[in-house]
Symmetry: C2
Subunit: 408 residues, 2 copies
Amino acid sequence: MAGKVSPLAPARMADLPPIDGVRLAAAEAGIRYKGRKDVLLAVFDEGARVAGVFTRSRCPSAPVEWCRDRLPGGSARALVVNSGNANAFTGRKGRDAVAETARIAAEAVGCSPDEVFLASTGVIGEPLDPAPFGRVLKGLSGDAAADAYEAASLAIMTTDTFPKRATRRIEIGGTPVTINGIAKGAGMIAPDMATMLAFVFTDAAIATKALQQALAEAVGRTFNAITVDGDTSTSDTLMAFATGRAGNAEIRGGDDLAAFGDALEDLLRELAQMVVRDGEGATKFITVDVAGAVSDASAHRIALSIANSPLVKTAIAGEDANWGRVVMAVGKAGEEADRDRLSIAFGDITVATEGERAPSYDEAEMSAYMKGEAIRIGVDLGLGAGKATVWTCDLTHAYVSINADYRS
Amino acid sequence: MAGKVSPLAPARMADLPPIDGVRLAAAEAGIRYKGRKDVLLAVFDEGARVAGVFTRSRCPSAPVEWCRDRLPGGSARALVVNSGNANAFTGRKGRDAVAETARIAAEAVGCSPDEVFLASTGVIGEPLDPAPFGRVLKGLSGDAAADAYEAASLAIMTTDTFPKRATRRIEIGGTPVTINGIAKGAGMIAPDMATMLAFVFTDAAIATKALQQALAEAVGRTFNAITVDGDTSTSDTLMAFATGRAGNAEIRGGDDLAAFGDALEDLLRELAQMVVRDGEGATKFITVDVAGAVSDASAHRIALSIANSPLVKTAIAGEDANWGRVVMAVGKAGEEADRDRLSIAFGDITVATEGERAPSYDEAEMSAYMKGEAIRIGVDLGLGAGKATVWTCDLTHAYVSINADYRS
């Protein structure tokens, strides 16, 4: 939050248009931070559909459990997000705080607590006092407006150095439909903080099952295809809310769902890449493209093994096209690989082919390429048609400083 | 190799006694380094048994493949180890270099090439020229002596800051038996270098099958229970050579094998811990004890998830008992866990119990503990009787410098 903006931040951030049926407002509740907004309330008109995907952590936070349990209801009237405290690893107190916050929000909005969805980000292991929600949610419900996305994207930040917003507009059966998204996240978990959070709002009319399907499919190639440090938060949350106010014929499947899904995936990819671009200490934006694997799933695991390798990440921080470390990371992934069919490129420059250094390899050309801000590692396993792309950032002194020195 | 010795280095290093039937010598072959010995030859009297375990990398080096293929022969007359070049990812040239080196060694020692075992450590992807072996192996064979363990342990170093030696003496059926070991390794792979190597020499009379069994069992709780950066080399090699000259009744199983296995495990643990103590940039020696898991294997995977987490390792570098990050690492391991039964301690100080911060937790007491050089993280999952211990080191600015800045 404080400090200078990541050198990889996008040059400009989208202004999000209003979505019919969605109103937002943010307030200073003083949960942990002083002098900044730390609570977001989103209010949905009756009939809004909801879908979500959550952390795979076996120790999820209390709000994650609350949301998972209420998703089958399929109906959302409110979303409450706070920064400063993740309400994770807080035992019974955590569950009680979630229930009490939902009750307060339901009263403020005029709905059932089971129609309230919650997300929290910040310190782990500190009890979250629900009292500040009691002080602000009623007022926020009154103030909520259709054009408050900037305030919303700022209120959910923790160690992020810039807010993250994206928008898409498509037509479904000739009817314009808008999809907005906001996100936060800088490490998989940031200093003492938990969480990657992302929220999508759309006026599309879409069946709950179709919305969940589109979200689940898109997440695999977007938020589940990024890594900063390989550490998975206890609170990762991606939710989508659809008001149906665009007036399109309800999306249930077929071409309409494909079109909606493509736009959603495109939006989520933009937000996910922003999280990498805000990676703690990052100076390089790295794309890992794996092809020729025995399956897409195998390619994905190999790409993650490369993207999570401290030795690969430090090499790129040092502007060193160290393909030996890429071989190492392919080898340790535990996936099918044949050393003598492997080809590796940095950018368009092939460094190794069929298990040996490429005869054409030119070190001077490579040195120039490695000085760039965007680095692509291309790996071809030469075994099959499986492919996957993962995005990550480099591992720098600043990452260690942020995560080791922040107490001093 | 250069630079100052790790602050975690043992105060003194063992002098290894002679092993009847084993002679060693080291020479400067100029493979990569100048002004230091870089080739080790160990010669075994006829009848020596051999066992080995190797990297799980799917892209193993040429010497690893050579050794694996020859282990079933069960007989060893020579071991050749070089530093400076790992002969990994070198394609057909790599396989040819291995065969040629074995031929040269066999001629020097007077045995079959299939009785020659090889290990290489150093840069990946550079062809290894066998010519230097031709210049030194004949001489080394003549010079080899029973008391050359210090030179042997120095010749196999790459970025190690200290040589690694250990010895044990036990009795088998009233007959004294000696086990010597040497090792190298500082990262799972070091700057541009591949490899953890360890070699064990004993005069015990032991059946090949029993030797392999003892080695395979011990490695799980020793070399497979350490991690520096979670990166697995293409060349990891642990081999044991037994000359049988102690004159004990051949160990085939039962109490004798148990006694031998215990001593071997103890020796390997000492060597493995030395590798962690020489971890790149390490300032803290970390023991991760996991108990209460559903199985030992599950406990081992959870312990590794904690030990490999960049956020846990940077927190300890910053002397911060950040148990929220330990919860995160437990959660991401994908193993059975119940957030509300989890207890976490640093040293003997309980920080969290039953899923919440411990009421007794005293931050001042913890701060004092975290300043120490040896840090123990204790995790109790409260689910079963599974337990495991893993050793690692912290993640510091020096790690990034060693791995990102070394070209400058």
